[in-house]
Symmetry: C2
Subunit: 223 residues, 2 copies
């Protein structure tokens, strides 16, 4: 029954898909790990077809890599790939922040971002990776939603942000070098309603993130 309902919510593939993403954040799966279809079939108690569909969704979003006749594996990014991703995120997040600032007065937007920011700042003081990661994702999601560009909202999850988070979870220095004040600055600029300023704040933040990552040892990267 429970399984039936969960499945109907958005299908067995969705269950597997979310299970794996969640498992990633929880550390159940780590970069480089093989994902054997038979195991997943057993773990999630669904047919192989559904597992396959979930895997191809994950591959489409870049979380895993698949090649013919080889097991899917959780991707881990090289230095170059990370640099590329950060550069892209700078552009995308800058765009998102600008849109959000420009539309801060519409509807309940101001309240939405207020709440998301409060939750984020609150989560910041705690030391729970999972809790903070959720709050941060929610903050960005809200920012994008307020911006009101549906295509941006569709594209954002297709970037490899999740992979980025997970790959460097062990290195607190990344987050710590970035956290203090950055999110606050982005929020302030958005609340102020000045698009250009919000874009700059978001870009600065991402650039600082990139710098922190650059200082990481080779062991943190693939290949």
């Amino acid at each position: 029954m429970t399984k039936q309902q969960a499945a109907l919510a958005d299908g067995s593939p969705g269950v597997v898909y979310r299970g794996i993403v969640d498992g990633l954040y929880r550390g159940r799966y780590v970069p480089g790990q093989r994902l054997v279809e038979a195991d997943l079939t057993r773990d999630f108690d669904v047919g192989r077809g559904s597992v396959r569909e979930a895997l191809s969704r994950l591959a489409a979003e870049g979380l895993i890599s698949m090649s013919l006749h080889r097991s899917a594996i959780i991707r881990s990014m090289s230095r170059v790939e990370v640099r590329d991703l950060v550069a892209l995120l700078e552009v995308l997040n800058g765009f998102a922040a600008r849109l959000a600032a420009d539309r801060i007065e519409e509807g309940a937007n101001r309240k939405l971002i207020d709440d998301a920011c409060a939750t984020l700042l609150d989560a910041e003081v705690q030391r729970d990776f999972l809790h903070f990661a959720r709050a941060r994702n929610a903050f960005y999601k809200t920012m994008v939603a307020i911006g009101g560009n549906h295509e941006l909202a569709r594209i954002m999850p297709r970037t490899n942000v999740d992979l980025l988070r997970v790959q460097f979870r062990a290195y607190q220095t990344v987050d710590e070098g970035v956290r203090i004040g950055d999110y606050r600055a982005i929020y302030d600029a958005i609340a102020e309603g000045v698009g250009r300023k919000a874009e700059a704040a978001a870009k600065t933040h991402i650039r600082r993130l990139g710098d922190a990552i650059d200082r990481l040892p080779d062991a943190a990267f693939a290949g």
Copy 2:
């Protein structure tokens, strides 16, 4: 045998996937059309599982929309969706053009973009939608490749550009209001190696495209 080889090239799902994208450009499939799994199974002579996998890939890239227990249908965008997409493409293409200009001197990059541009300008004088569409896609693809950002290259196909092309294929005004000189300007800026200029040229082009689309009648849009 032939089928076997094609399948092994990158799998049956890939055959179906490419077949549908190609069919879109050829007009075999039009926005709003239902894609019934059984039909595709027959048309492409593959199992339903493979059809399903191809469909979910197409859905991930936004070309079709799927909801539970309902046939997949070729998406067609509303005015708002198109506006959002154009805004996103402006940012993305601007970024791509800037990167390309900055790396024009590396390797064989200059020759690559030279060739792609020549092919594009040549295709422009002809009046063959398919031929021109291919050349344009190749040009953009080259531009992105030269830029060297793999994440951008991964994301670009996930935008709904294909849908955009197809949806307005009947309205030459869109292309005509844009073509003359625009691609040339982008190319020149890239060849000059000035990132900022290339970004501006690309953005101007997309903005002009958006303006042309704005002038289209309601009949060209969904919903």
